[in-house]
Point group: C2
């Protein structure tokens, strides 16, 4: 599958090699490729190691992709992706973003409660098929669920398009996820985004980001 990863942060640096390993064609998009290779040393190291992971612009990454992954930082992703609306029409957009407003103290969430980043993206890109997932996890855990509790924990999907959720669910299963819980329409992205408050507080209490949420039933 042709996958465009947008963003060069921790999430892309974990998912890009994992998707390559599974045999997918991966392109990584960023605002300004030369600036990123110059300033993002972690990404530059990755690009040296995997020759396939050269960088292109957001606009160049999207047109051929069967799956686009939004791994752009939360506060700026809606504006960045809205500018790509024509290219994203009809595509599956896997949204991994977190609504942290870092300009506020204590990492409060914005939007929250009556809206979510997942819904904002779907409204801004009505012809894209947004699927929210992965945002309840540390980047390191996304592509390696077995690193936590032998993989016995839950990942969530939210989205309005059943076939898009099926595509994302198959990709999650190929990464080793056994418990993929379909919460329903994109509105349920509020639920996983609001779990980020617990994610932060539990991270502090446990002294690690390497934990997962399991829905025990």
């Amino acid at each position: 599958m042709k996958i465009a990863l947008l963003g060069t942060g921790a999430v892309s640096r974990v998912l890009a090699p994992a998707f390559l390993y599974l045999g997918h064609d991966v392109v990584v998009g960023t605002r300004s490729p030369l600036t990123t290779l110059d300033s993002n040393t972690a990404y530059a190291r990755l690009a040296t190691r995997y020759s396939a992971l050269g960088l292109c612009t957001f606009a160049d990454a999207v047109p051929d992709a069967e799956l686009v992954v939004n791994a752009i930082d939360g506060p700026s992703c809606v504006a960045a992706l809205t500018s790509l609306a024509p290219a994203l029409a009809g595509r599956v957009l896997m949204d991994v973003s977190s609504p942290f407003d870092w300009s506020l103290p204590d990492a409060v969430l914005d939007p929250v409660n009556t809206d979510s980043l997942g819904e904002r993206l779907q409204r801004a890109l009505p012809k894209a098929k947004v699927v929210k997932t992965f945002n309840t996890l540390a980047a390191e855990a996304m592509a390696q669920p077995s690193a936590i509790g032998d993989g016995d924990h839950t990942v969530f999907v939210s989205g309005d398009d059943a076939s898009a959720k099926a595509m994302v669910t198959e990709l999650l299963r190929s990464l080793g996820w056994k418990d993929v819980l379909d919460l329903g329409c994109i509105r349920t992205a509020r639920a996983t985004e609001m779990m980020l408050r617990m994610w932060i507080d539990a991270s502090v209490a446990l002294g690690t980001h390497m934990f997962g949420f399991k829905i025990v039933r």
Copy 2:
């Protein structure tokens, strides 16, 4: 231990007999005892079955209690408990409340994100020792953790007073809880209260309230 349960809803109806069974002295407080016995048929049935579970007013329930449980509905509990502030001074207040604003559609939360009911209670009752717990669970699951996944899931405590959290934790363990996670100060009540959005959406997706959250690590 002398326990005062405030409220006669589903939570009190589950916890009152469970605490009796463990050998505690239980009193149940309500706004207007005669009205409750007349209109709350579920509670009236319980009081018929357990003679110890007669009702008294909120004000009469608190003075002898070593532990007070706030099982009053979320939107009205802060006002109701503030009126009991002198009697609650120095006591452990186990807060089980949920910040659902039922006047808004879709059960949005109020307060949320930058505040919580747990914090509001602690501010309104600075001399009480508020411990938030249990609010991530259906009432039926609180006193019977083993009914879900053989009890292999997590209950959370948040509070500023270590001895109060220790008392509540011991009570939780006596009910069968094996994984009690201390999240930290009362501010972390935001985390468990904000999980209520997931609690609702997962309930709909699974078709049952009988599930638990486990922090897998």
